[in-house]
Amino acid sequence: MKTFVSGSEAIGFSAIKGGIRFYAGYPITPASGIYAYMIENLPKVGGFAVGASDEISAISYCIGASMRGIKSMTATSAPGFSLMIESIGYALMTEIPVLIVLCQRMGPSTGAATTSSQGDIFFSIFSNSGGYPLPVFSPSSIKDAFKTTIHAINVSEILRTPCILLTEKEITMTYETIDEKDINLPEILERKYFEGNDFKTYDFKNLEDVPFFSPVGGKYRVMFTGSAHDKEGYLKKDDPEVIEVLKHLNEKIVKNIEKFNIHEYYEGEKNLIITYGVTSKSAFDAFKKLKNAGLLIMKLLYPVPKNFLKEIVKKYEKIFVVEENLTGQYAEILKMEGILKEENVVKINKIGDLISPSEIINFIKQNG
């Protein structure tokens, strides 16, 4: 049996299957489909979806609900994401899980609302002050969105962090036939709740440990704060424990993320195509027609799983990074992280329309 779904429906459906019970939204193309889906479907499973007066309210409602232990989510596009940034930093600092679906449109500012793009790689990865990492996942297709959405929720819950599901108009507003047998939802992971004595809101032993959670209204007194704090949650400044907490916020993500790496890898030789998001679909068609080239579709974009990538990349002479943006943002990230070297990277970029398989093939034939 088959179904005909949009990316918005796939993301909404799997989010609910992945345990999301609270959604707050604000209309914005190309994310409005997710909003509509959640308003219609969350109440059916006992969840709650609400329209907010702006994206700041939307994410704040989500953070509040998540503080009660409810898995929460919102979806937006770059203009709305801009408004959410302050609160995403707050969720990061307070270690509150929340999933933010960022549906990319083209260009800066209001841009082109109904034209797809992969231009918000830098924007999503570097959206926090202080240089703190935010896990960014990107589904490679509507079919993959069923899995990657739940995976992103899992990581958000397990690592107690806001997570970004970075997708595109070409996923959320496109309809595709999906085979029933291809909808295999991953296992759901839950945040760890505290039981015992001597509860501290932000307790950890090693810097990379994730503190046990207790909800607002629960049996342990919690102190959430977005200001610099000690393990207890007391607002402090000149205290070694505060610095320790700030280091922990970084290490908790970077030291644990590699085990949550998701990708698809098809081995080849000499030339490797690296891509992500909707461009993976074109790249896959190109890969099938090309002889010898390898293909790596990344779904965890950031933090970069360095060990994994280095192992793969070293087998190839040239790396073609295919992405639908102006300057090759993910290629730049991979260079910055020391995965790729200037001399062996070839960027394939385009804006305004999907990169087609033939464009990828021609480019690789000319430059490979």
Binding site: M1, K2, T3, F4, V5, F13, R21, F22, N41, K44, V45, G46, G47, F48, S53, D54, I56, S57, S60, Y61, G64, A65, S66, M67, R68, G69, I70, E86, S87, Y90, T114, E170, M173, T174, Y175, E176, T177, I183, P215, V216, G217, G218, Y220, R221, V222, M223, F224, T225, G226, G233, Y234, L235, V278, K281, S282, F284, D285, L354, S356, P357
Partner: protein
């Protein structure tokens, strides 16, 4: 008071500040209500008011500037899903109310069961005494050295206008402060108290001010004291226990044979509001029930029901990866809006075109699809029905069957068009 406030610690406020008065009144009020401290969450905003967390014995959430109300609303809304009811109280200053005004308006409008204690001392204290939107006209602050030239916001009137059910205004020194707080916290629904204070750090430095002068300012601004409004209002967000069920995806049964020889793509260009996407979806679903893989991309301007609407469909026996169409095998043009949208691309394509008669610049197979414009989605259902005659990759009966729930009229359009009876 000790159950809610750690009285061993010295509160960090200036001599004569109103904040500690409010904090003690709140602690006493909660104690008298006899609620458990861990069934209370106190949400504090940025500013001196946000220093309260460490002295409290309830759950505390110290938020971003102005966002306290929105976080509190989220905390409360979560009760619609599960979890027992807790008291949610927001401590916010006039600065926080200025930057977070819309959150207050929305919480009031939605009648969310939270209690707001607005500490209005006419200025931003923590950052050095700057004016806010609640600074009275003529009041001197660091940023209004010659007196504030603007009238202050009457936040109670504002919240009244969005049907806030409980509104009160008191002075921090008033004896009835605790009683009013108690009444507000026990109130079912959104409750808001504006507590007018003197900032002894900056308010007194720049102005001659005491309790009597504050009363005069309020009187001049027409701001009354006491409980201004208390009325029952339906609590909209209430927990409704229902029979919940697991979410299912609806699958299409593949019960028909397809006659698809080769993969192909089709682009349908028409006017927004005329059913391009709807007709495309019916075609797509009909194809799926014939075992075909389909992708459908829709291109529209931001406006609804004006301008163009384009759907791009791909049909294949195998799963489709790349959803783009470099050159469609068929183009259906049902209006001049649609034609204008794809005109440039058409020059590059040698593709089979089926168009409405009204599109003069096109040569190809033409029919009068627009004669069905008075029937909802008639034009594009007509075009697709006619297309199925030219390219019978699925049987027309399946398409016809899928349309049945949309009424006799549209079925008639489909039938006539398929039979080429225009």
């Amino acid at each position: 008071m000790d159950r809610f406030l750690n009285t061993n610690l010295k509160l960090p406020y200036c001599k004569g500040c109103g904040h500690p008065l409010v904090l003690r009144a709140l602690a006493n009020a909660l104690e008298e209500i006899n609620v458990h401290p861990l069934k209370c969450a106190i949400i504090t905003d940025i500013g001196c008011v946000g220093l309260a967390d460490r002295y409290l014995k309830t759950h505390t959430v110290h938020t971003l500037h102005g966002r306290s109300t929105a976080i509190a609303a989220g905390i409360k809304m979560a009760e619609n899903i599960e979890g027992e009811e807790i008291k949610v109280i927001v401590l916010i200053g006039d600065g926080g109310a200025t930057i977070g005004l819309l959150h207050l308006v929305e919480a009031a409008r939605m009648n969310i069961d939270i209690n707001i204690l607005l500490h209005n001392n006419f200025l931003y204290g923590m950052t050095g005494g700057q004016h806010s939107s609640l600074t009275p006209i003529g009041f001197k602050t660091r940023t209004t050295p010659h007196g504030n030239p603007f009238p202050s916001m009457d936040i109670i009137s504002l919240l009244d206008s969005v049907k806030a059910p409980f509104l009160a205004r008191v002075l921090a020194q008033d004896k009835n402060l605790k009683e009013i707080i108690k009444e507000a916290i026990c109130f079912k629904g959104f409750s808001f108290i504006e507590i007018v204070e003197i900032c002894t750090g900056y308010g007194s430095r720049f102005n001659k001010i005491d309790k009597r002068i504050v009363e005069q300012i309020l009187e001049r601004e027409g701001k009354k004291l006491g409980i201004i409004k208390k009325e029952d209002r339906e609590y909209i967000f209430k927990k409704e226990i229902k029979e919940y069920k697991d979410l299912e995806i609806s699958f299409v049964e593949e019960k028909y044979e397809a006659n698809l020889k080769e993969d192909f793509s089709i682009l349908i260009a028409g006017s927004a509001g005329e059913g391009v996407q709807f007709a495309s979806e019916i075609l797509s679903k009909s194809a799926i029930s014939s075992g075909i893989y389909v992708t459908q991309k829709n291109d529209v301007p931001i406006t609804v029901s004006s301008g163009f609407s384009v759907s791009e469909l791909k049909f294949s026996k195998k799963e489709i990866n790349y959803t783009g169409i470099e050159k469609p095998d068929f183009v259906l043009i049902t209006s001049n809006d649609g034609f204008s949208r794809i005109k440039e691309k058409l020059k590059k394509w040698d593709t089979k075109i089926i168009a409405d008669e009204s599109i003069k610049e096109i040569h190809g197979e033409k029919r009068n699809f627009r004669k069905f414009q008075n029937i909802r989605s008639g034009i594009n259902i007509s075009a697709i029905s006619f297309f199925l005659k030219i390219n019978p990759f699925i049987s027309f009966e399946i398409f016809f069957e899928s349309l049945k729930k949309y009424g006799e009229e549209i079925l008639d359009v489909a039938k006539k068009s398929y039979e080429d009876k225009f």
